[in-house]
Symmetry: C2
Subunit: 193 residues, 2 copies
Amino acid sequence: MNPLEERIIEEGIVLPGDILKVDKFINHMIDPELFVKLADEFYERFKNKEIDKILTLEVSGIGIAFACGLKFKKPVLFAKKTVSKTLGSDVYTSQVYSFTKKINYDIMVAKEFLQKGERVLIIDDFLANGKAIEGLVDLCNQAGAKVQGIGILIEKDFQPGGKKIREEGFQLESLAIIEKFENGKVVFKESIS
Amino acid sequence: MNPLEERIIEEGIVLPGDILKVDKFINHMIDPELFVKLADEFYERFKNKEIDKILTLEVSGIGIAFACGLKFKKPVLFAKKTVSKTLGSDVYTSQVYSFTKKINYDIMVAKEFLQKGERVLIIDDFLANGKAIEGLVDLCNQAGAKVQGIGILIEKDFQPGGKKIREEGFQLESLAIIEKFENGKVVFKESIS
């Protein structure tokens, strides 16, 4: 098992509804040194691609995207879910459906920060139905930026997002792929390292 | 001028209503290498204090708090503004008034992640009226945790938050202190390094 899988086994909690609670090291409290190791692993998997910028989505993608920005020595752009006085109106917008909350919400990036021809690595914490990732890809398409790869911490293999994104031809790398939950335990699809 | 002040002069934009737009390197796009330098500066200022945990508030505090977590080699806890299925109900809650949005909102941390006796360094991006910082201090007080210091990227000296927090006896360190905005330009209170 790799360090992320080990930590999930040690500290992840399976909640009803196939929800994996990883609040202790990803979604509420963050272990920065773990994230640096995981960014190193993303670097190994994407080092043959030219990357100009890391793109993620607020809130819980920011920590791992920051660690990747450090490793790749590139700026980190986080798409926003709410308008603000500083964001302005000159933005690309994509609508994302949340299966968890059963609502549509908009994600936005300022046009000035996502340029035509830029080579983007998308990073996020979870991949399940893939709607947030599709929204980030859509923002890149609107800008004429090129998605060079997609890096995910935890993918739920029993939900359709990963398969769809791979079929579209993207290099999708997930550091922990969950095949199923069984009796409150996590079963990984395969050991990665 | 220190690296943060230099960057504010180069890339910050003063908007009507005394709003400083730093979306290019703090609030929307992040420069990870700048944040590492700023975390080094926070470390210099707080290295005599015992720190067990970095506490910040989602969203835009997460990047700099992460950089501090790396430098101090401690976990980063970010207070949440919205409830979620994984957060649960066993939380400390504090109400914060937003002068920008003219609304009250709740900030929350899970009780299991903020323990009695823990020594906390609070980190955030902006300090103006100080309501968010007061909320974070309140969460620590509820938990019986001890606030060892407060580190801020940009403080607006012409708004009352900083003075009040210093009068309460906290070690408050702001890396860029803005005295005023004048003809669309930023005037710093003093050069720090």
